[in-house]
């Protein structure tokens, strides 16, 4: 293997797409995705057993959740844009993209908090209540972790850690953020849309 | 209390079907193990060498993959297909009786005893007893299983496979004994401290004897004849027993513990833990937790005279 004759012609340290850190994030996302699969299995299983109405108090209202979904999906767009800008070396626009993403994500959590406060049932009311709050709650926790990651990336950007070539942390964090949004699409469809359609 | 829990002593059609399936499974298993163990031993014995005696490393042999094709795939596949066919057949036979069940008994699992309610032809449940299920010989009996607390499992090996008792849902199974006798069972889903002592019995009797039993169970508690027994009934009411136990025909309507209207007709107490004799009964009543640690029945504070009277009263509840 000619490259191994002089291995230091190969790049040192991960800059490429499939670096160990990138793979680690992919695998963590995979196992976290399974976590939501099992949460949703719990929901669908108890739904299948339910003798009365499911949800017991009628389908959840979309008035807050639907716009909130749009907000979160928009934040995926801004994240994508921010990552594109850093690959072009546009640090300023990259940091603005991070900031807007953060604001959108934080707003999502705020609006969800508002929805929680207005909900007629609690986690203790019945198994549906337990599932509703736990599933959306674990998702919200993932969003919160994502916000912390965005903060750290913002901080590192301020220290000048990133440029067009070296921004592995950005790729990983944006991948995580897209994952969190994708999970919301599935959760929203299962918990909010399906009961309103069925 | 004793009994035969063996899986090889079936006393009904379901039990027999499962025992036959068992013979197939166990015979094939033993055969496979003997063949493989023989091959292992033979392979070792036939050629053995020191580690560096010959430096040679063996190469792939012709047709060596036959081992995998035959032993690893073809033969196991045939055995498993046949086994699955027998299995599905047994599922079908044991799933429901060949003819309609004579009646239904609602079995409710508690920690650590079995509540039995016979559903009469008119839909009422006038016969309520505990732990000892009487059935007529040769008739399929439908059992509706549920739990009043945690998960239990109903199992009488001679008569059919086990079925769980889940809180909030009802499972249906059936038993049929084709010869008279007493068949022992036990709870087979870990349910807490006294899971080990939650036995049950099925007493299969000829049709007339069963009808007599049922009729006597329907009747309310007999009026106690002796003064001792009347004193005992008074003790029963004032010492708190009535708070947990029912004796039909008296003010005692408690539902926490077993119905005692005909307790004296049962062969055991404490779900098969103790024989139903005055001595054991006295010991149980005075200090149940000492005999069955963890039981929900508290020790009583009865004086010896009261205890004696109470046991005499319980003895009249045939």
């Amino acid at each position: 293997m000619s490259t191994m004759a002089d291995p230091y012609r190969l790049p040192v340290d991960p800059v490429g797409r499939f670096s160990p850190g990138w793979w680690a994030m992919v695998l963590v996302i995979a196992t976290e995705a399974m976590f939501f699969v099992y949460l949703l299995f719990g929901y669908l299983y108890l739904d299948s057993l339910a003798r009365g109405a499911w949800p017991p108090e009628g389908p959840p209202r979309l008035t807050l959740a639907a716009p909130n979904t749009v907000l979160l999906l928009a934040s995926s767009g801004t994240t994508w844009w921010a990552e594109r800008e850093i690959t072009r070396g546009a640090i300023g626009r990259f940091r603005i993209g991070l900031l807007v993403t953060f604001i959108l994500g934080a707003s999502f959590l705020g609006i969800q908090g508002l929805e929680y406060a207005r909900e007629r049932f609690t986690p203790s009311s019945h198994a549906y209540g337990s599932l509703f709050f736990t599933i959306t709650g674990f998702h919200a926790a993932h969003v919160a972790v994502g916000l912390l990651m965005l903060l750290v990336v913002q901080l590192r950007a301020a220290f000048g850690h990133f440029d067009a070539r070296r921004h592995l942390a950005v790729a990983n964090v944006t991948m995580y953020w897209h994952f969190v949004d994708a999970v919301w699409v599935v959760v929203f469809t299962t918990l909010y849309l399906l009961p309103n359609l069925g | 209390m004793n009994g035969d829990m063996s899986l090889f002593s079936p006393a009904g059609p379901a039990g027999r079907t499962l025992t036959q399936l068992g013979w197939w499974l166990l015979s094939v298993s033993v055969l496979v193990v003997l063949v493989v163990a023989g091959l292992v031993a033979w392979a070792i014995v036939r050629r053995r060498d020191g580690l560096h005696a010959a430096d040679e490393i063996g190469s792939p042999a012709p047709r060596e993959l036959r081992w995998i094709q035959l032993g690893g795939v073809a033969i196991p596949a045939v055995i498993l297909v046949v086994t699955l066919a027998f299995t599905l057949g047994a599922v079908h036979v044991t799933g429901a009786p060949a003819r309609r069940a004579a009646f239904t008994v609602e079995v409710t699992g508690h920690r650590w005893w079995w509540e039995l309610r016979y559903v009469q032809a008119d839909g009422t449940r006038r016969v309520v007893t505990a732990n000892e299920l009487h059935v007529p010989v040769g008739e399929p009996i439908r059992l509706e299983l549920t739990s009043g607390d945690v998960i239990h499992s109903y199992w009488v090996p001679a008569l059919n496979g086990k079925m769980d008792l889940n809180p909030g849902t009802t499972n249906v199974t059936w038993i049929m004994a084709d010869r008279a006798g007493t068949y022992r069972g036990q709870c087979t889903e870990y349910c807490g401290r006294q899971h080990a002592n939650m036995a049950t019995f099925v007493v299969a009797e000829p049709a007339e004897r069963f009808a007599e039993w049922l009729a006597s169970q329907e009747a309310p508690a007999a009026e106690p004849a002796s003064a001792d027994a009347r004193e005992g009934r008074a003790v029963f009411m004032r010492a708190g027993c009535a708070g947990c136990h029912t004796v039909r025909g008296t003010p005692a309507v408690g539902r926490v513990g077993p119905d005692l209207t005909h307790v004296a007709s049962r062969r055991t107490i404490a779900a098969g833990l103790l024989p139903n004799t005055p001595g054991y009964l006295a010991g149980w009543v005075s200090n149940a937790p000492a005999l069955k640690p963890g039981t929900l029945m508290p020790a009583s504070m009865l004086r010896p005279r009261e205890l004696h009277a109470l046991v005499a009263y319980l003895g009249t509840l045939k």
Binding site: T3, M4, A5, P7, Y8, L10, P14, G16, P20, A24, L27, V28, A30, T31, F35, Y38, F41, G42, L46, W54, P123, A127, S130, V152 | M1, N2, D4, L7, L26, S29, A37, I44, R48, I57, L65, W67, I68, G71, G72, P76, L80, T83, F86, T87, A90, G95, V150, W155, P157, N160, G161, K162, M163, T169, N171, C187, E189, Y190, G192, G294
Partner: protein
């Protein structure tokens, strides 16, 4: 660079780059996979012994009817802790220990791909075990069984802290298992030696590779189940409450969706170890390598489709249970493929009966007994008779001890020389084997007949006159003989560490890469990175003299802590990976998790919150980049 002084030899240069820092700092900061692997092995054996003490107590209590060694309450706690300790804190971690130690050596690498994550997976394993055993000190051991069925585990029927230790402890251990699995997979994808394509990896690596995927897919089910349990107990939720729309069977589905793949997680690497050592002791390559690799992977996948066979008696409709019964039969086939591959290798080879091979031979017999008893229980109709009896206890111990423990012992005898530079004593090894094999047979075979005699499981005592006494006594006697075998193993280890014969690099004349380095290996494993050309690098000259050879003397890669990064399928080198220095972050992170767990179990939310803040800070610190000089050394 140096001028005017003699150049430092390559070996010395690499040792200085790779060795763990001395002193206490090094103890807590090491990221060397060999140190971490050894720690995993020793710690797992400690848990094995704890579980064994628990088993001894159970067996004395059951030796005859009416024993009063353990009260019902103590019995329930001891059988729960026995199951938890053995299944979670011994059976999988011991295999992680072997994997951690051996993978880089087998794969021609200088370390695992994520050395700091490796350290984290060990510290969390250790601390989760300490957390669980804190319950013993407080007299609050979990006591609702290792399987912990709801609603018995709810706060109403299980008051106190016991089942909180259970739920939190398992989630904590799950972090260890998950981090470990990620590390193994990244290692496979990125750090195999150049030329080590997937079809040249040892079967042991295929085993852990498969189980690492299974861990990622299955562990979340247990996390969800335990989260629901903890919330039901402490936050008033109603997941398992049938009266509120919940279901006790929800716990069972979630638990067994995890639990069944878990049983393959604790046996597939063990089977892989046997697949790799039988060829050595039969002096020829494994028959049907591709089929064995395929059998490993397909068992892992099929393992996700059989979980309902743990629930055959729950009242699930016959259509569903029949499907799962059929699936449980199908999964036998890949195991049969493996067994006959081993038999064929033995038949067409020249078996050398040293201690590892003795254990391998015993392993095969016990494997098949466990396998057929699995078919018996897999037949749904007959399972309705044997489930929840000692027949199942027999089955599970044949597969867990027969497959995992016997393979682990074989692995210890095989790789102890590599790890320590000394051979384990052969005579003591034979004593060890026969005590274990005979003790196991006497101790566990009668459990089959006890089950067929109707003895249920999980009972603290039984009536005289049911016909169970004699068999129980044999079981007790046999299990103590088995324990003597374990003792013989420990004696052998202690003796051989001081007085064992010197091993040399390849005492067994084995074919794979770990035998190309000194015993024990230097901190950097390989002085020169090998470039691999076949499945049996050290046998190439004798197996196929004309084929291209593995280059054992590849590049030195000595500018820093470097190892080659290679592509996932064909292992072509595409970058040089700079490995991290020793660091305290993994230990610190594990500590923050321990603080969170104690906060949760004690109901002190401020403590859990403090731990969470510490966790966030530690993660940020861990991932904060280290500035490197152009030469490669870190500042």
């Amino acid at each position: 660079m140096t001028t005017g002084t003699t150049p430092v030899p390559l070996d010395e240069r690499l040792t200085r780059l790779w060795r763990t820092a001395p002193g206490v700092y090094g103890v807590f900061a090491t990221v060397d996979h060999k140190v971490i692997g050894r720690r995993y092995l020793v710690t797992s054996v400690v848990f094995l012994l704890l579980g064994g003490i628990e088993a001894a107590l159970l067996r004395v209590q059951l030796a005859t009817s009416g024993m009063r060694l353990l009260s019902p309450a103590m019995y329930d706690a001891v059988f729960t802790m026995h199951g938890l300790t053995m299944i979670f804190w011994y059976a999988a971690p011991v295999l992680s220990g072997f994997s951690n130690y051996l993978w880089p050596l087998m794969l021609g690498a200088r370390d695992m791909a994520c050395p700091r994550a490796n350290a984290l997976s060990y510290w969390t394993f250790l601390m989760s075990g300490i957390f669980l055993y804190t319950s013993v000190l407080l007299g609050q051991m979990p006591d609702a069984g290792w399987f912990a069925y709801a609603p018995l585990t709810g706060i109403a029927y299980s008051p106190g802290l016991r089942m909180d230790f259970y739920a939190i402890g398992l989630v904590f251990l799950g972090v260890s298992t998950t981090v470990g699995a990620v590390n193994f997979l990244v290692t496979i994808f990125r750090t195999r030696a150049p030329g080590m394509s997937l079809d040249r990896m040892p079967i042991f690596v295929w085993g852990t590779l498969t189980t690492s995927f299974a861990v990622l897919a299955a562990t979340p089910a247990l996390t969800v189940a335990c989260a629901f349990l903890y919330l039901d107990r402490r936050a008033g939720t109603r997941f398992y409450d049938a009266a509120a729309g919940g279901s006790a069977l929800l716990w069972q589905h979630l638990f067994w969706s995890f639990g069944h793949p878990w049983v393959y997680i604790v046996v597939l690497p063990a089977m892989g170890m046997i697949s790799d050592l039988i060829p050595t002791f039969c002096r020829r390559p494994l028959v049907g390598y591709p089929f064995v690799a395929l059998a490993t992977v397909s068992t892992g996948i099929l393992g996700f489709g059989v979980w309902v066979h743990h629930m055959f008696a729950t009242g699930i409709p016959p259509v569903a249970t029949s499907f799962f019964s059929a699936a449980s039969m199908v999964i036998t086939i890949p195991s049969a493929v493996a067994v006959f591959a081993w038999l064929a290798t033995m038949w067409h080879g020249r078996p050398v009966l040293r201690t590892p091979m003795l254990f391998a031979a015993g392993f095969i017999v016990l494997f098949v007994i466990g396998g057929v008893s699995g078919v018996v229980t897999g037949s749904v109709a007959y399972d309705w008779q044997v489930t929840d009896t000692y027949f199942v206890v027999a089955h599970l111990h044949y597969v867990l001890i027969g497959i995992n423990v016997f393979a682990v012992l074989a692995g210890f005898y095989y790789w102890f020389p590599k790890m320590t530079g000394r051979m384990l004593d052969e005579r003591l090894g034979r004593v060890n084997f026969w005590l274990m094999f005979i003790g196991f047979g006497v101790g566990f075979f009668p459990m089959h007949t006890l089950g067929l005699a109707g003895m249920p499981r999980r009972i603290y005592s039984y009536h005289p006159g049911l016909g169970w006494e004699w068999q129980n006594l044999w079981v007790t006697i046999g299990s103590f003989v088995f324990a003597l075998g374990i003792a013989a193993f420990l004696v052998n280890v202690v003796y051989s560490l001081r007085r064992g014969a010197e091993a040399g690099a390849n005492p067994w004349d084995a074919p794979t890469l770990e035998w190309a380095v000194p015993s024990p290996p230097p901190p950097h494993n390989f002085e020169r990175i090998p470039i691999v050309a076949s499945r049996h690098p050290l046998w190439e000259e004798r197996l196929s003299p004309d084929a291209p050879r593995t280059q054992l003397e590849g590049p030195a890669l000595d500018a820093g802590r470097d190892t080659p990064g290679t592509t996932a399928l064909d292992a072509e080198a595409d970058e040089v990976l700079r490995m991290p220095e020793d660091t305290l972050w993994p230990f610190a992170l594990a500590l923050t998790l321990l603080v969170i767990c104690y906060g949760l179990v004690a109901g002190r939310w401020w403590l859990a919150a403090a731990g969470a803040i510490g966790l966030a800070a530690t993660i940020v610190g861990w991932f904060w980049p280290v500035r490197h000089q152009p030469s490669g050394a870190a500042t």
